[in-house]
Amino acid sequence: MEYSLIILLLPMLLFFVLGIGGHKMSHRTAGLLGTGGLFVITALSYAVAAQYFTQPRVEGIYPTLIPFHIEWLRFTEWLHIDLGILLDPISVMMLVVITTVSCMVHLYSFGYMHGEMGFQRYYAFLSLFTFSMLGLVVATNIFQMYIFWELVGVSSYLLIGFYYTKPAAVSASKKAFIVTRFADLGFLLGILLLSYYTKTFDFAVLTSGEVSLAATTAGKTFLGISVASWAMALVFMGGAGKSAMFPLHIWLPDAMEGPTPVSALIHAATMVVAGVYLVARLFPIYVTTPEVLTMITVIGAVTALYAAVVACVQTDIKRVLAFSTISQIAFMMVALGVTTEMQGHGALGYMASMFHLFTHAMFKALLFLGAGAIIHSVHSNEMSAMGGLRKYMPFTHITFLIACLAISGIPPFSGFFSKDEILAAAFEKSAFWGIWLSLVAGLTAFYMFRLYYNIFWGEEAHHEHTPHEAPKTMTIPLMFLAAVTCVAGFIPFGHFVTAGGYSYDIHLDWTVASVSIVIALAAIVLATWLYMRPNDKPARMADSMRRLHTWAYHRFYLDEVYMFVTHKIIFRRICEPIAWFDRHVVDATMNLMAALTQSASYRIRTLQSGRLQAYATVFLLGALFIAFVLLCVW
């Protein structure tokens, strides 16, 4: 499968071509080049997937393939960064997800970004992102992953800040980069710690159990926690940053300042699940550190609830979707967190997580692209500017509804199946997490339908010009993704991707499923009652929970806390004092030495009084002084 290398190289080539020569091309050429390239890549990755999954299993699992591999940079005898392509079930699955969504987004952008300034630049960045993301998922070692991890970070930065004249976009991009960078610091330290003890970066070695982190760090603790846990927790910190886990999630809602297709691609479907992917990739090690898995579960659960609550009261449709994304990724994290073993019953969560990753990518991309179409036609992100759009935008309406149903967990849409597996896995672990997640699932259904009704039903807002259906380039991706959403649930996912690699037949646990369906339906009904027709019930309800509403609306003031910490503490209390110290203490010391010399020079000038006799006196006294000293010494 050597041609899988092309999947990586082609987008890189496209990036260079579009980045360097783009401004000389017409929009059309650039767009066609980018989109065409993506189609090729998509086709190739489907081919890879097909070939990979049709190959015979070895001892019951799909073998891990490394079709391409070079040493890139050698640090020590045993530590070296390699660049290569690693194909195993999850990376192949991710290849498919990424190329599919990316391809759709490329196509969609052709319409969405039509006539925008910097159209070529946009496609160049998209190519860069695709390249980086693909590189990330096929990484053969953790350092390669870190490299592409940083690259997706920067492409995300560039794309969020695409409208660089908009201050909000600029600060959002900055925020996104710095927050994830901070998380990456943890990731890096985690890598260093991990590699210091295991003496390798290689996934193959790390996950195959050739070296055991637990064994090499046995007995070593720091602050009462074992070094192995520290390492894995730090690595998870990187994942948490990328995947917007509480409390590092704050960048993601702001990231919605980027063009909507970008949000669909990066901030919904692909990059944000990198954290989940990372945990999944290193799962054989995580299994050996249960306390870290517990931490992941807790963080995921808290994030899921938090994001869902906040999503209920947001008015900007992209923000609702952003919080929904956070919440859904948290679901995946929880699913991984509740996984306790590599095989057997306890390994269900892993599969569920990957499955949800897959389905979520599709329907969330669909939601974002739909939202994009809406924004494209009403030129606003605010719900208040929408309402009753179902008449004007039928395709969008239908596809959006499908996505909403999918995310709410209504069968037979894909979300139902994957979410159900997660709930089942959670219940497997403990009823507490099961109930918690079921509740959050209910909230999800509620806010999604609140969104849906507010956009397509409800009171019709005043439009300056009549909203219209999006062009073909935009609706085709919508329809494609909707179709996928409809059928994806029936993919025998457990057959392809499981923790241990062994085939696993998904069978719905109907008790769990029926409970979740009931909760979801109840939530939908509530939303319908509240939002389908314009009325004052929502306002009254908000009034009745005034404080909760305000706090939720302001995202529990977490941004303000961050602002306080960064500006008031880091800038005011650290940076400025240091800069002051540098100028007024360190530098002043140097200047003081010069000033002292000058003043000494001024003080001793009277020695040179110009008077002959004073000179003679000094002369004589000098000689006498030396003589005196000598006499005293000898």
Binding site: Q613, T617, L621, L624, F628, L631
Partner: protein
């Protein structure tokens, strides 16, 4: 007896030297200072005679007393009015001067007094002129033709320099 006379003369000369030296540096009338200097120089010549270095005493009188002091007197007459008294010396200046002089005298005196001189053997009478002449005109060790020539160049240079500065052009 001769010893006593020697001693008396020595103390007389010493008294003249000490007193006149001090007077020479404190007298406010410049011409008197020059006169005191003359006395000091004479007394010094006396020392030389007493030490049986008659030639040196003669040189002292002719060059110093006869030459230099006369030069001084001419210069004084040229540059100051008769009977003019110089201004009083400020007390700080005097204090510095005294301090420097006393300190110097103390240190030098102390060193000289505590030094263990080893007189090799008693001196024997006068140095005869022939020895002197040979020493001055010889080129061996302890003979001084070269310094003699060198000093002549120095004197020539000083003459040229002195004339250049002092003449009116």
């Amino acid at each position: 007896m001769e010893q006593i006379a020697n001693h008396i003369i020595f103390f007389l000369l010493s008294a003249v030297i000490v007193v006149c030296s001090i007077m020479a540096v404190t007298s406010r009338r410049i011409l008197r200072a020059a006169t005191y200097l003359l006395f000091v120089l004479f007394a010094t010549a006396g020392f030389y005679f007493q030490l049986d270095y008659h030639f040196l005493g003669a040189v002292q009188i002719t060059i110093y007393a006869g030459g230099i002091v006369v030069l001084f007197v001419f210069a004084i007459l040229l540059t100051s009015k008769l009977g003019e008294k110089s201004d009083r010396i400020s007390s700080t200046k005097r204090a510095w001067g005294l301090a420097a002089a006393l300190l110097g005298a103390l240190i030098c005196g102390y060193t000289l007094c505590t030094h263990d001189f080893f007189p090799q053997f008693a001196a024997d009478g006068e140095v005869d002129m022939k020895t002197l002449g040979h020493a001055l005109m010889g080129m061996d060790k302890y003979q001084y033709l070269l310094p003699f020539e060198a000093v002549s160049i120095l004197l020539l240079a000083c003459i040229i320099g002195g004339i250049m500065i002092a003449r009116k052009r």
